[in-house]
């Protein structure tokens, strides 16, 4: 049991730099979502089911979704700007 705690801590510790270092926001959404799941798993292992549920809904789903929506929106803005620039 204790081994599991250390393993998940190390995994979270290893995943954090991975998210930070994925410089492309689109790739980052994927790593962030994965990181969110890892965090939720960590909360489960450390006996915090309430927090884990919040983390799954927020950290692994809502936040990446919001980022995706924001990115889509920005891509469209840029496309439109380019087209207007050409006119």
């Amino acid at each position: 049991m204790r081994l599991l705690e250390y393993v998940i801590l190390l995994l979270v510790g290893a995943a954090a730099p991975a998210v930070v270092l994925s410089r492309d926001p689109k790739a980052q959404v994927v790593t962030l979502s994965f990181y969110g799941l890892l965090c939720a798993l960590m909360f489960f292992i450390f006996q915090a089911p309430d927090v884990a549920l919040s983390q799954i809904t927020i950290g692994a789903v809502m936040l990446p979704l919001l980022i995706l929506l924001a990115l889509t929106k920005m891509r469209r803005q840029n496309l439109r700007r380019e087209r207007e620039g050409k006119k």
Partner: protein
């Protein structure tokens, strides 16, 4: 025994990586995500502080009162923290989107409207 300090070291580690990400970021969206990473360091810290060896989750639906459980307070604090995170991120992202609409860039190097 040094392993017992691992969670604190991980918390500091994540904190510094988050700061590093914010400082070196070339994209505001990336910066916001790094802020989210920075925040998870506080989760790790709080989680480790409230943990008890052999404790179970502080829900007495199936277990009798008096069983050894982990500290519920830090979990309540973390719940608040998660809500705060989600809301601040939503607000920051909308600022980024709006800035992109008006300035056409999300690179902080190019967003230089406020200087001196």
């Amino acid at each position: 025994m040094i392993l017992a300090y691992l969670p604190y070291a991980i918390a500091a580690w994540i904190f510094l990586w988050g700061l590093y990400g914010i400082v070196t970021s070339k994209n505001l969206v990336h910066q916001v995500v790094c802020l989210a990473i920075l925040q998870t360091s506080t989760y790790v810290l709080l989680l480790a502080i409230g943990y008890k060896v052999g404790g179970t989750a502080p829900v007495f639906a199936d277990i009798p009162v008096g069983t050894v459980v982990v500290d519920p307070l830090v979990q309540a604090l973390m719940l608040t923290d998660i809500v705060v995170e989600a809301t601040v991120m939503a607000l920051l992202l909308s600022m980024v989107v709006k800035a992109n609409e008006l300035a056409g860039t999300v690179d902080p190097e190019e967003l230089r409207f406020l200087m001196g």
